[in-house]
Symmetry: C2
Subunit: 362 residues, 2 copies
């Protein structure tokens, strides 16, 4: 079946482009001599984690315990939950998961460490732990250098946790305005983390992992001596934002939304794909996705079910009933909206797969 | 079980507030002598449609065929699909649905009418149809007055469709800056539609329905003489945007997200509810939701799993592990992100319900 015969809107993954992206990022890690632990929030699908590990990844990163459970049920057993877990129900689930898998968590406070330690110690268990460090995003994370060192000093004493290392996410790179700026952020991300690790080691504490890496910065931070692990996620599919942030070219974008033109007026077209399909996440260009093969069409407004598309130049226009392909702004958000995706190779449908960790917010 | 004992993030609906909202909007319709056909995109749940109909609603509105199928499977049999349907797979589904339910559709082009008519006529069926009219949103819809009249002239001749009336959605009201402006948009919405209906009737064509109404404008457009039906949706829960657009007060907001504080730094808190839980949809105040009981906390940035909250004034602060309640910006988008919601009365859990039409984008 040709992909254009699918009913719309449909989430389509080009399997060949995805496989190429997986191999290329593995090569970045291998060339730098670091481990690749991809963030699976982008695909939310155990099958794709297995493809990443077959290519050489040493484990995976997830954001939620619920994602970890799905990935483990799908056969993945080395999982970093990169989020500060809180609350008794999550402690129970974490300890049960840790019986079946090599699970590590991240955190930035004594209290979260204490709660996990208390729960684990009562069960005779020990949970591996990264301290999350803020290198500029201003979200979760202790301030690097002394901030991280001070927290590590406190938590190494706790009986139910094992301090493994430090991690950061340089998400502020998405504000960068040039490739040079991204290179600089990636380099600093690595260097500041290595310096922080050295400060912790000066206390006689072992720091096994120095873990960094967003998709745009991974290739720069991976090459800083002392970094041990990178955790990019979006590279598996890429998206409009990644192209505009110099992380890839349009030809590297593996994820598209197939949509149909449902209305046509002198100044605008309407596609049957809105924010429920493409997400409301904005790209640096202010538009809501990129229409392939129609550079004269701009998606300038989304409602839940409608894309309102303005005609921004000369050129052919699709008609009512015609299908168009859209490269979304934010691949991860799109996967979270859909129950399944269609895989294609050479434009032919080769499979339909459930997005098993979609909606796993707890 | 008290709602604060739920694991987080959790989507919570206050059942008493919701019931009050349902009754209040029904009263608006009854007082004006018009039918209420609520848009169910907000709740996506057949149970709540039944509550709306028990209160007096005459049918429902949906945006997608997939939503119509779920609602019909849940026992609802009077359904307007307010979207121009396109493509052979949808024609098959529409005709099968029309055998089980009173289904009507909307459209703004001869081509969509022709395609539906062809499919229905071949099956010996007739599909009821509204012509969608643009009164200012600039999305789907013919221009009112002559634009609508000319299209109606064309489609009344088609054998497989039955022209029932005209409809509009004055979504541009969300750009309004005052209650007076919203009142004006609502009044114009009704008046322009009634004038359009008169122009169509001048051709000797019956116009049974003149259907209008967003949540902010419904109470104004309902009272224009000649309007027959209103289709508000968000009123069932309301949200931060509706409060800021004068449609309700904070006490009318029935939907909240229960979240936990997972990190605390001198200038910020982090909640475990991000764009996967609250949606990325912005409110007029530029924030990403309203924190109940903490007027000094502002959700100024969302990532997929994190809300970054700045401390914008004096006052008590929650601690790591504490739970907070957030009134989302956009109730409909939030329902689409969650697999289920928890219903509470007097803060006690009284049920957990699947959001059955979530993700039904086709």
């Amino acid at each position: 079946m040709h992909k254009f015969d699918l009913d719309t809107p449909a989430l389509v993954i080009d399997w060949d482009i995805m496989q190429r992206n997986i191999c290329a990022m593995q090569q970045v890690a291998d060339d730098a001599g670091v481990k690749l632990r991809p963030h699976t929030k982008t695909h939310k699908t155990p099958l794709i984690s297995h493809l990443q590990m077959r290519a050489g990844a040493k484990g995976i990163t997830v954001a939620k315990l619920g994602e970890a459970e799905v990935m483990n049920a799908g056969g993945v057993d080395d999982i970093l939950i990169a989020f500060p877990l809180q609350g008794a129900p999550k402690m129970e689930r974490l300890l049960y998961l840790a019986e079946r898998a090599n699970v590590r968590v991240s955190l930035d406070s004594r209290q979260v460490a204490q709660d996990i330690s208390d729960a684990a110690h009562a069960r005779g268990a020990k949970i591996g732990m990264y301290v999350e460090v803020d290198v500029g995003l201003g979200r979760v994370g202790t301030m690097h250098h002394e901030g991280a060192r001070d927290l590590v000093r406190e938590i190494v004493e706790l009986p139910g946790v094992e301090f493994l290392g430090i991690m950061t996410h340089a998400g502020h790179t998405y504000k960068a305005k040039s490739l040079e700026e991204i290179r600089q952020i990636g380099k600093e991300e690595g260097e500041w983390m290595v310096e922080t690790a050295e400060l912790i080691r000066a206390d006689g504490i072992e720091v096994r992992e120095v873990s960094v890496g967003s998709t745009p910065t991974a290739r720069f931070s991976a090459n800083v001596k002392g970094v041990t692990e990178i955790r990019p996620g979006t590279y598996v599919f890429y998206d409009t934002t990644q192209v505009l942030k110099y992380a890839c070219s349009w030809d590297d974008c593996a994820q598209t939304i197939l949509a149909t033109v449902v209305a046509k007026h002198p100044d605008r077209l309407i596609f049957d794909a809105g924010s429920k399909t493409l997400s409301s996440d904005a790209a640096p260009n202010g538009l809501f996705g990129t229409v392939k093969n129609f550079p004269n069409l701009e998606i300038w407004r989304l409602n839940e079910e409608h894309a309102t598309v303005r005609i921004a130049g000369e050129g052919p226009l699709p008609n009512i009933g015609d299908k168009v392909e859209i490269i979304p702004n934010h691949a991860c958000a799109v996967m979270n909206l859909h129950d399944s995706f269609v895989a294609v190779s050479q434009d032919q449908v080769i499979g339909e797969f459930e997005i098993q960790a979609r909606g796993k917010i707890r």
